[in-house]
Subunit: 516 residues, 2 copies
């Protein structure tokens, strides 16, 4: 900035006009780790009882695999396959042998290696909202998902350092035709962000196209792609007890090439799973481990994530509930189960609220405390989720990022050196002074405390004079400013052209079938 | 209710017309306990370093006691007292000997013994907002505290079972003259609620009047009163390093009669305490233990509570910040310190927000997770606090109670019996069914899950058709309905008359001096 008045800077500004304006004060990009012990609601006996129930489900009841290749692979591996019902029963020795082959921890490397992350151990990572059909903000209200909002949500996901990976589409770009949507959407993902990307397992073409585009964006060979985790897919079982064809197909293709698969059963207690938490968790475990076992048969050592989405329905209405005490406990016990199986695990920042108000916030906070005290390694839907996943909210995304940042900062160790204990400063200030001006404070005040980007801590009168804006209104102002300041991450022009050519070619070929 | 159609019931209904209408679905009154392990950020070495720094503050720097009797008692007990500076230095052996006399746990019995609570062990209790000068709701906006709002906040505090005790005045009834305010305010407290009450330590008359009124309300003799904890006072040190006369006077009078004293230093890091968390906690510990040591000299075994109010200021503006990562850690470490000293401890549900929006909620949730993972025994300002304590909000009170209830419910153990594990139900439903109608669900659905009174879990369309009300608007509707349905707890008419006579007499005598 020292040469801001000479011509050369003016020229540089012309080339990168907006980068200089970035004004978001946020924590630097980092891969945070949990420093506390996890909260573990069950003792080892209780945990073993859930494990045993899950094994009984797999041995005695079985899981339906709606994919012939999955069934034939499992049959070859010694499972009891009923081709008529498509049900596969597997004994616990087989399951545990397969699960033991999955890595407890693995690194994911996106096209920008500086954005690499690790899933496993005590590391934790957050991703934005994924997959809602609708999008909303204060200005435009609630509307059907579209590419403009999709791109803007990607830009925000890229901007916030507390978001470590891209999840599914932050909103479904419904205005793109379903057969070629994934091509344009992935082009946006790979050019507007440089973080780890997710590809939907919606049949053969989509997942193959996505892998090829990630390979092109990374500028690596097929062998190099296959040797490192560079993206991931998330599959949900069709609870109860079923894995469908498109998800299995995508998951097996990803696993075959060493790309991570998150297996997240959608076990809502009372609807798709038993009304008891222990029962729902036993079913979640059975469904997740059955798919992970399959993927280990496909490629031993394929990176897998134990997904936890157990919550409950409101028994008065049948509506899904999230961020409830049940959800917190389900997440913490899922963490216990994942650690028992030496698998990384996934949770979510979920809520069932229609607007980003106090309810949305307390439900999100219960969810986030549940997944973080349970020590989830990846938190999907970390920012922007509303209505149980039916809407992506721009304002909620900003609010959630403010909370996520605090969860990251919270893991900072508390120093207890003599300097930290400050007995000398206390003696210096004495009973009649204050610490605002003392040297001990002056040396530390700039970095002493967490500094939020969204909180308003002014007194009531100042706040009111300035319009009395609540958190949602401030989030609205901030997200628009961030979009205005957004600069895309650098990409090699040759790579961009190769991506464009790939998209064009695959569009000409018709993209993917839409009859799944 | 079996005779609801005969005349006697109709007469009863005439006498108590509103009791039958109560419609708040809430958890029953209970004394909850923590079932998890506490989160402990410091290892034993770090904890001892804070302890050691606190002891050095007491030994080398000293605490100012602005009360001659306090100084003379401490001098008699062997402390180093400087009468000119009013500073008292006490060595660690003395402090720890005195603190060891305080009970680790004790029972408090209000005028309705069914509302007894325990402070200590793994028990936890919540109280409402205390002491703001202002009050607000959607209808009337923000206004100066007054008796009508004061009484209404008491009625709500009585109504919610998640609130276990009354704290200070939920809003200051400023329209009552300061000299007799405590008499009218305490009359309201003792007739509109039947839970444990707090009396302000604001000099001699107020605390003596309050103790006498609590004795009258309980219908017990002076000896019976003195033998059991029946109320409490909360004192704040004038940080740094000072205890003022009115608080010391009230606290010593309470302790002398066996009534609990909560000692809560107001150690905002960066302003009244060092900018480092460890330093602020060392100072908090020194200030709290110095008063607790004094109270043990006054009456060995007097029930005391280790108060924790350490947070930080925003170093950009000097404004207090609450519900920050620093606050969470300060609360958890305060829990470690309290357990080290075998003392019950107090935290708060604090926030620095001007309106009950998302920010107020995330700050409250960070506060509540901080105090509950730190396992506070009493949580003051549990419901209704806004603006760092400058305003009591009717809507925030309802929102907070919804959250407090969930913290209570969350402690419920998770069953893992065969019935809970539901393998038979999973077999029965199979891969093509759902659990909504199965017998296992039908037997349990009514009590299976937490049932909120404020959440709206309807889908967007239903919610929007019904006015699209956010949590604050719904809380507004609910609090007014609860006031409409409120029925005061029963009180013996003779006792009520005795209270009235006491208030009248003390008012005629002029009440309390107002020159403190």
């Amino acid at each position: 900035m020292q040469d801001s008045h000479n011509g050369s800077t003016r020229r540089r500004r012309t080339r990168e006009p907006r980068r200089q304006l970035a004004t978001l004060e946020q924590l630097d990009w980092s891969l945070p780790s949990y420093t506390d012990q996890p909260i573990e609601p069950l003792d080892s006996d209780g945990l073993e009882r859930i494990h045993n129930a899950a094994m009984r489900i797999l041995e005695e009841i079985g899981i339906t695999f709606l994919h012939p290749k999955a069934r034939s692979l499992l049959k070859e591996a010694g499972c009891d396959v009923n081709e008529k019902t498509e049900c596969v029963r597997m004994d616990r020795v087989f399951v545990m042998e397969q699960v033991a082959k999955a890595p407890a921890s693995f690194k994911l490397v996106p096209r920008n290696p500086a954005r690499s992350i690790i899933w496993g151990g005590r590391h934790f990572t957050f991703g934005p909202v994924a997959s809602p059909p609708n999008v909303s903000d204060l200005d435009g209200g609630r509307r059907v998902g579209n590419r403009v909002d999709y791109q803007n949500l990607l830009r925000l996901s890229q901007t916030f350092n507390c978001l470590h990976f891209s999840a599914g589409y932050p909103v479904e770009p419904v205005d793109l035709h379903a057969s070629t949507r994934h091509l344009h959407a992935f082009y946006d993902l790979l050019t507007l962000t440089d973080k780890i990307t997710h590809a939907y397992s919606l049949g053969t073409e989509r997942i193959e196209d996505a892998m090829e585009m990630v390979r092109i964006a990374a500028g690596v060979s097929v062998e190099e792609f296959d040797s490192t985790a560079r993206m991931y897919t998330n599959i949900n079982s069709s609870s109860p007890l079923k894995h469908d064809w498109p998800m299995l197909d995508g998951a097996m293709r990803m696993a075959a090439r060493g790309q991570p698969v998150v297996v997240a059963p959608f076990t809502l207690a009372g609807a798709m799973a038993p009304v008891t938490l222990a029962g729902a968790l036993a079913q979640q475990t059975a469904e997740a481990l059955s798919a992970i076992a399959l993927l280990q048969v496909v490629r031993p050592g394929a990176p897998c994530v134990f997904g936890a989405f157990t919550s409950n329905v409101d028994m008065k209405s049948g509506a899904p509930a999230f961020g409830t005490p049940e959800y917190v406990r389900a997440m913490q016990i899922s963490g216990q189960l994942a650690r028992r199986y030496h698998l990384p695990w996934r949770g979510s920042n979920a809520n069932a609220c229609n607007t980003p108000d106090a309810q949305a916030t307390w439900e999100s906070m219960f969810s986030l405390w549940g997944v973080t005290t349970g020590q989830a390694n990846m938190v999907k839907h970390g920012a922007g989720w509303l209505e149980g996943g039916l809407t992506a909210s721009f304002e909620k995304l900003v609010i959630d990022c403010e909370m996520l940042q605090q969860f990251i900062y919270y893991q900072k160790p508390i120093g207890t050196t003599d300097e930290d204990l400050a007995v000398d400063a206390i003696a210096e200030v004495g009973p009649n002074g204050h610490f605002l001006g003392c040297e001990h404070t002056r040396e530390r005040y700039q970095t002493a405390f967490y500094s939020p980007f969204l909180s308003d801590w002014r007194n009531f009168e100042s706040w009111q004079l300035d319009g009395g804006k609540d958190a949602v209104q401030r989030a609205n102002t901030l997200y628009k400013r961030l979009l205005d300041e957004y600069v895309p991450p650098p990409i090699d022009e040759a790579i961009r052209e190769e991506l464009t050519e790939f998209v064009d070619r695959r569009c000409r070929e018709g993209g993917a079938k839409t009859d799944f």
